[in-house]
């Protein structure tokens, strides 16, 4: 079971919303599928994204994937630790492996996202 306090996208990002701030990362399942992550390209603070827009790129030894923003808003911080230690995404995807913090523009958008049970069902399908 994935953490129940998060919401999920079909593209395997998670989001934790606290007030008007959201923290975004990719799920344990996504990190395992990608394999050893070697580089994460993240946006600078101040950039804004629509919901489901590409906000960055994650590169593993075998694939490169776009990262899609679960919510609309302005980036307030990118996880600087990933520049030197991208493997944090593999070792602690829901914690130290977080990617960006966003000032949420449309809190209602979160309702469109999957909850933990629905995401579990999605990955169970494979």
């Amino acid at each position: 079971m994935v953490p129940t306090d998060l919401r999920y996208t079909k593209d395997h990002e998670w989001v934790r919303v606290e007030g008007d701030e959201a923290t975004v990362g990719i799920t344990d399942y996504a990190a395992k599928q990608l394999g050893d992550i070697v580089f994460v390209e993240l946006p600078d603070a101040g950039r804004t994204f629509e919901q489901h827009a590409t906000f960055g790129v994650v590169e593993s030894v075998k694939a490169v994937s776009d990262l899609f923003s679960p919510v609309s808003g302005e980036v307030t911080e990118a996880n600087a630790a990933l520049a030197g230690a991208p493997e944090l995404v593999n070792s602690d995807p829901f914690g130290e492996g977080w990617m960006i913090r966003v000032k949420v523009a449309g809190p209602a958008e979160v309702e469109d996202l999957l909850d933990a049970a629905a995401y579990d069902a999605l990955i169970a399908e494979g």
């Binding site: 580089f39 390209e41 590169e59 694939a63 490169v64 776009d66």
Partner: protein, 477 residues
Amino acid sequence: MPYGPHAPDDRERMLAALGIASVDELFADIPEGLRSSGLNLPEPEPELQLAARLQGLAARNRTDLASFLGAGVYRHWTPANVDQLLLRGEWYTAYTPYQPEISQGTLQSIYEYESLVAELMDLDVVSASHYDGAAATAEAALMACRATRRERVLVSHAIHPHYRATLRAYFGGGLQLDEIPVVADGPDAGTTDVAALERLLADGDAPVAGVIAGQPNFYGLIEPMEEIGRLAHSAGALFVGVVEPVSLAVLAPPGAYGADIAAGEGQPLGIAPQYGGPFLGLLASTDALVRQIPGRLVGMTTDLEGKRAYVMTLRAREQDIRRDKAASNICTNQALLALAASIYLATIGPHGLRDVAALGAAKAAELEAALADAGASRLHPGPYLNEFAVTVPRARAVHRRLLDRGVLAGLALADAEPDDPALADALLVCATEVTTSDEIARFAAALREELASDGSDIPDAGDRVDRGAAIPSGASR
């Protein structure tokens, strides 16, 4: 690998497997009007007849000329081992292999090429090469746009016109390309107008991703690269230096004057000045831009047994993985020519390369004096390395008549820049280490006679620009 063409029954089997009746059906997606209606080729000829015809065409080449033509492609002496080693069949491909790590020799040759060019450029990362200097320059401009997320690039008007045309073609899809004018007169005439650059950078509606300037520039002149780079950086733009590789043995390399990216034509490194190419696009950058540099990169590592091994690295930027989001979709490299450049550099060595550049500069000074004496003095007063423009009234006509006298008098600049009245009466000439004093004397004598027969246009000594402005020490290696 044997070459086995498809026989008719092979094709029938493949068509049957695909469930289609003809090969044409595979191209059904292409609108009718865009399809070729057949090639207009002459009928086959007997081999003897064909050989005679081709020899006749080849005989129309002029190999007797004393040539002073440069303008982006340069004659140099190539040690015999370069061409001899290129004859080995193992090297005969422009491509890096699709199963690369099985071809350690090919990867090693690319790694060595990258290492040699990195040293020459004083930059961290070098791609496995591009089609030519113009393509490499355009890729450098796109790198600047990706890295800064900005969409406007400034290019010096003193960059080769073909390079600027290539940039315009690459920028046709919505990116903005503006030209920085050159200084019209005074001591800096013919170099990039730094004050104009400052104004263009400050012009607020579209922030600048990159600034491109050449060293030496198209007119052979030394540019204030450090200052151009400083201005670019203060506006948050990247700085792209377009360089001629032999000059880097004596001029400051791009890494030393703060260039983030360097591009250039690798032809002077052991590759003959063949009409129409093939050429060799050099592209290098700082480590910070490693994920933006397009094309193949080869790295050195150790295998499971601890032995040295070469690998394709950072392939994830490339089109086989990233498709339309790849760093570039035009990154076929020039492996054979990159190998030629590597063998040339390794054979001639750093001291040899410095001799090549210094000899060329000495020959060019000799050429300048001889032409001035014949009545053609320099168009621009600033320092140059081995190429410069001279003022010759009715330059195109004189250029044609000098051909009849066995002299290829460089390039009539009006052919390159037909809309620039300042260049209507100018020839761009160069000398390299293979230019002889006898050739220089032939050129000067023929030019003197042409100018004399032309009437009263020979400028007197008072109009001449002072010779021999020294290259500023900051621009030297």
